[in-house]
Symmetry: C2
Subunit: 373 residues, 2 copies
């Protein structure tokens, strides 16, 4: 498919999601022979020197990109965010209690699943306002004895994002913070001084589905419940450098190419994640400013916690939804339908979405409004 | 890398392993635009119609290839064989007892991991003969009250393969049979009347690492322990048609292309898995017959349980191992080093390995023997 203008379509899928075209082109070019090895990356033993080099480079590039301190392990795992909803409490809860901050579908799912393994305390929730505002940390009811505090730092479905991570110590909690950063990882820096563990499925901002990244502080290893499967025991995975079982090698390769692409990105004097943050802020501003100024569209999330990555919006007259989506598709703007639990539209504008893609969306929305208002 | 003859090298990796060249070429060609969709398969929402079609076709093709009866579910999961070592007992043991037949490293690992979730009874073991013979089923000490009986139908490391599945009812067991068929799935037919559940990592005979296939009989769903993670609960995965969490979409796509390739294979009047079985038997015969006739090489596995897929062999003078491997590499014969726990060499000759690849290996082995004997 090519668009009327001859360019590749812009893909606004929430995940699996658009990837940098340069990454796809390189993956295609190397498919039958990775760097003279005579093998596709998919055909390499995970214990061979070729894949060992790919994996080590991916880890080093991710560490550099997000300035991950040395006392954090970078684990390449499987099972996605929903898998981690069980794997985290199996590894961290010690069968005691965990605190949860509910800000949307994903944190709610995490809390529900954790109940299999530990007590769960809902420290705060924005369910009363349909997940459109983040409760101020000063209002959170954290426990004295929680093994960890969980939050989802960007809610993919509800479009709610923490603009800064909370300082749990200032709230009276001694527990490590666990963040699910699946849908905004590498879109902005992470303050690791406030994090004990971060996890994310790769399929939004890093690579293909089937790869899960876990970044875990050294002191949190070694406390898994007896019923934790060996393949999902962080201590075992860390000790085996993500090779206890066969890792998702293709996913690590593609994520590694994406990390290299990210390190090459610049905005003015900025590079890497700092450049991406500036670009992502500009992309989000363009789209939210247009929506806010229009009487035809709306976004219902409070301004101070709007996601830069996932922008749910509504046509005020929802009878035009189908026409909007069909016209978008004709204009080469794909996968804009909102999540079924929220309805309306959703534009996911991850790292791989160029500014021009958001501009093309706004241009289309303006023209649709003009012709249908 | 190309070989002296200009062909692509032959890759004998035990897994991740060689893939059909036609599959790799198609994946490369479709990388930026799958069938006019404007998207790479990696960029598609798993809930969209495009990926839905890919996934449904893959399932249908696998069902047709292996004649999987309708009362078995085909699940696309994550975590590999080592993950299943925990996931199977969490779903099937009901906290009671399971029987294990130990024939090599993989079944031994399965038994060890299952002990977290249930009692385990070792019904039989070939550890006394270094995993080179399969104990006759008539000698197995099966339990009256086992929830299931586990075996690994092809031991990748030790090169031991069941040529037929046991009839548990004839042994006095009412339990369903669980088989780990990771390393010979789709290389020969499966007698589903003797199987309750089969699982396999894809990275040997089906596709890339990170995809796990589970084929499970309908009546075995719904008995998971409370501590089974939702993402690994067979009932939940089946009810959601492998879309409870985001599945490894690229792996399913590549496996699907491989299933199509397998369906197109012919040997005389045979097609699909029947054709592959004939071809695999001929490949294995060529290699074993050469080894057995040579005073220079040896294979230590009993003739009646030698694997058609994984052929461990030794140079009787092991001081020549490095020279053998270096020469093989120069001849375009890759990844022949044996598993560290066994030593020596291992030629994995899965479905994707053509007869000509085994012939090239035998030719090289003969020439190496001639020049070094």
């Amino acid at each position: 498919m090519t668009t009327p203008s001859g360019r590749r379509p812009y893909n606004f899928s929430a995940g699996p999601a658009a990837m940098p075209e340069a990454v796809l082109q390189r993956a295609a070019a190397e498919m039958l022979d990775w760097q003279g090895s005579g093998m596709s990356v998919m055909e390499m033993s995970h214990r061979g020197k070729e894949f060992g080099a790919i994996c080590a480079q991916a880890e080093a590039d991710f560490r550099a990109l997000l300035a991950v301190p040395e006392h954090f392990h970078i684990l390449f795992m499987q099972g996605g965010g929903l898998g981690e909803n069980a794997i985290v409490p199996m590894n961290l809860s010690r069968g005691n209690k965990a605190d949860f901050v509910i800000t949307g579908s994903w944190s709610a799912k995490s809390q529900k699943e954790a109940q299999r393994y530990c007590q769960s305390n809902i420290a705060a929730s924005n369910a009363d306002n349909q997940h459109t505002q983040i409760p101020a940390p000063s209002t959170w009811q954290v426990s004295d004895d929680a093994s960890y505090v969980h939050l989802c730092s960007n809610e993919t479905i509800h479009g709610v994002e923490f603009q800064a991570l909370p300082d749990l110590a200032a709230l009276g909690s001694k527990a490590p913070l666990v963040i699910d950063f699946s849908s905004h990882v590498a879109s902005r820096p992470v303050d690791w001084t406030r994090v004990g563990l971060a996890f994310g499925g790769a399929q939004k901002n890093l690579g293909p589905a089937g790869l899960t990244l876990v970044i875990v502080r050294d002191d949190l290893l070694g406390h898994a419940l007896d019923i934790c499967p060996s393949a999902f025991n962080y201590r075992i995975v860390a000790d085996n450098k993500s090779m206890y079982n066969t890792p998702p090698t293709w996913g690590i390769y593609i994520a590694g190419l994406t990390f290299q692409w990210l390190r090459q990105q610049t905005e003015g004097a900025l590079t890497g994640v700092a450049a991406m943050e500036q670009r992502n802020a500009a992309k989000a501003r363009l789209l939210y400013d247009f929506i806010d100024a229009s009487p035809f569209y709306e976004n219902r999330v409070a301004h101070d916690c709007r996601s830069r990555m996932n922008v749910p919006f509504f046509l005020k007259n929802e009878s035009r939804n189908e026409a909007f989506l069909a016209g978008a598709r004709e204009a080469g703007l794909l996968q804009l339908k909102g999540h079924k639990s929220v309805g309306g539209m959703r534009a996911s504008i991850y790292n791989a979405m160029p500014f021009e893609g958001v501009q093309a969306l706004v241009d289309y929305m303006r023209e649709f409004e003009r012709s249908h208002a």
